[in-house]
Amino acid sequence: MTHVNSQKLDRELKKGSAELLILSLLEARPRHGYEIRKLIEARSDGVLKFNAASLYPLLYRLEKRGWIEGKWVEKAGQRRRRFYKLTKDGRKALAAQRSIWESFVAAINRVARPENA
């Protein structure tokens, strides 16, 4: 896979899919912001990159919308961190967004695949 890092595609993709990414990552268990950033980068083999300035607005927006919920958690001997978990509404939204995404990707594929393949 080629390394796609043009700023433009980055922005577009993030706009359309960043919410889906975050929701998906929180499906399994609650995570904190830095963890989410690292996971997106790692699982996309570095294709998708967020920084603090682009990630947190998304988190706050999703939280505001009631799809995720942030909580300060303190562990012994560590500084407290804010963990985000998926809410019930968030789960519904994730399902809906996934199905849209899937049909979108399928549509793109149908269009883009080489003819006579």
């Binding site: 904190h32 912001g33 950033r37 300035a53 509404d89 199905s99």
Partner: protein
Amino acid sequence: MPDWKPEIRGRLIGLRLAPTREAAIVEELSQYLDDCHEELLAGGATPADAYQQTLAELTGSEALARELRHVERPVAPEPLTHGTNRRINMVADLWQDLRFGARMLVKQPGFTLIAVITLALGIGANAAIFSLLDAVLLKTLPVKRPEQLVFLENEAPEFKRSSNISYAEFERLRMQGQELSGACFFSYTTRVNANVSGQSEAVEGQMVSGGFFSVLGVPAMIGRTFTEDDDKESAEQAVAVISYRYWQRRFGSNPAVIGESVNLNGVPFTIIGVTPPEFLGVILGNAPDVFLPSVAGERILPRRFRFRDSSLPFILARLKPNLPAPQAAAALTLTLQQSRLAEASGSSEKQQAIQKQTVNLPSAAQGFSELRRQYSQPLRLLLAAVALVLLIACANVANLLLARATARRKEIAMRLALGASRFRLIRQLLVESLLLALIGGATGLLLASWCSGLLVAVVTSSRNPVTSGSQLSLNVPLDARVFGFTALVSLLAAVVFGLAPAWRATRLELSPVLKDNASGLGGGGRVRWGQMLVVMQVALSLMLLVGAGLFIRSLINLKSADLGFQRENVLLFSVDPQLIGYRREQIGSLYRRMLERIGTVPGVQSVTLARQGLLSGGGTQGSIKIPGHTPPADENSFSEKRGEKEWNAPWFAQVGPRYFETLGMTLLRGRDFTAQDHETSMKVAVINEAFAHYYFGDEDPLGQRFDRGNDGGEVEIIGVVKDAKANFIQERTPRTFYVPFLQDPGAWRETTFQIRTVGEPMNLANTIRSVVQEIEPNLALFRVRTLAAQIDESIGQERLVTTLASLFGLLALLLTCAGLYGVLSYSVNQRTSEIGIRMALGAQTGVVLRLVIKQGMGLTLLGIVIGIGASFALTRLLTNLLFGVNATDPLTYDSVTVLLLVIALLACWFPARRATKVDPLIALRNE
């Protein structure tokens, strides 16, 4: 470990977050940056590098600030809101809906433009007709507490334009009545010769009693209005109040006009005040230029304005506050009866008659108006017609919205899936409709302001029913009432065209829509809705077109009706020598000289005169007695016809020599009048067929005599003419007799000269004017016009109704056509694959064409059938506005049906053509 907090804070400045919130964000982000920095150091980066890279995490923080600004707002403005059912935030939600709605409209300018134009036409037509209807039928006078104002009149059927109360009785009622807080009287308006610094012009004058302005509660804009003292014999000087318009027109709005002198019919009057601009008098459509106190007015106006000798024309009174009119009427009746009993001689028969007389107090809140009666039904009818047009327009917009809802089903499904309530979504869609309607309404108002000017021009150009001849003036502003009406109509329209599509759009099977792009909102359902709307549109336009067709037929009949005289090549003009001080005995010789002189002008075939021109809207009646004849039983009786008292007595006209020849009327027997029928010769009359038949049956009327009583004594019948229309084209010619004007003492008023010319009559106008000036330089000619033009004026109302009804009919047809086209185009799109399969299986172009056209014409036919049924039921209401055509006239119905079918076929043709262009391969690939 570096402290990131100042860096983060610096980037949040300007957001004005709540302190605790800001602290939380700063803590969370600095925690994040710590993690990042630690990891970089652990990975072997130099501290300087690690610091730089960590700070890079904050690049693009303007996006952070922007996002936070959005996110941290109390209400998320994103369109894809989750939506709740909570009632709080109603206002905020509404604001959000509005902004979102506006965005959606801007996003689809084509849709918005078409919807707005459609609505603007519908709403604009409504606003224009309403503004006229409001001015003529609904609006109250611009005076203080108009609801307290009443006309005071004695029940008096035979005097339609008189209160039938004498001046003495008026004074008694005014002084003794505990019921009234004030009373005044006024005349109808009349032409007055006004001379300001040597320049003469004819203006509209109105005689009013001293209390007129104070009873109305109309203050002077500048100067003062009349007091009771101004209207007394003892008044020191003759004073006048002028109207705002006259002040503007004649005096250039110069405030120094107060104290100026104006010569009215040769007598100097001092101007003491100007009325406010909105006050146009109390007779609707007859705005006076000059108000005169009644005493002074009697000195300068012809005899018929000496009201103090007979009965007062209009009495206006203001009731005491909170006093019901019937109670006041009962008390005033008693006062009037007592006053009359005291005057009456002893005969008990007379006393009993007096005890039956009553005082009526009809409301004067709207002033006096003949226009109101004349235009009441047509205007209501037109309002109904424009309401139908609006309904058709709404159907079109509803269709557009339905189509758009299909396009937006994804968005709507998503919102529903995310938990938005249906109510919330319907509200959002309705707000969009409302926005459309309001923009349409505002545009419509612009249209209306332009149209209503034209409408007023048509209404006021029709003949003036009160004082035949004066130009009507009507105030039709686009005021708060029209504004309110338009807003209300727009609101209603929004609900009408928005609710059903919104209801339908939000009734979705969610999973299919979300899963798959193809369907979910039953395409068929949308088509069914659209089809129902089209059927309704066709039915409504058929009704409008049938109405218009009937009016057109009716107007054609009016224009081609046999009038009994020749309307072409006749020039008319009017004069009133009494205005320049002529006395009765001088008028006869003046007219004789004028007739002689005009007769010698080249191009004049013959010339005559009459009290009133034909079809000028006025006529005179008088009772007669025929010696040795018992009159038919209903002679002189009164009957009620269309709300008007009708007197069953013959009509008569005072006319000049060669009258029948000049007007081209057919003399059946006997002779025409000549110059030898003058004051001292034998008194004669010519009668029409109806007269002959009514009184004499088969007997020979020539040589018979009848008695006109005080009006002219006994006359001998010397001729019989064919019936000719005199008052209205619509009438059956009533029994009429004609007498020479020199032999009728009542003929000395305004007179109309009638000149038959060889060529175009108006070409002679200037010659005639100068010829008259030679004879009497001061005599003003007014209402110079042709007979044909006067006849056209007499059917002004019919022309207005026909023109507007046709216009609205065509508009309806156009909108319906667009609706049909839209629905079929949509249906063709939906059926692309079906059509593709058919064509792939070998269907010919013709078959596909028929397929689509059949669908469209099926809808049209269904609409036509419904429309014909409804028209049959409703056009009966038009019966009394029609002339010479039945409300169920088959020709009209047939031609309208054919017109609709042809136009509908046209609307079907283009979508059908498009269907035949479907490429089967492409269509099938869509599957």
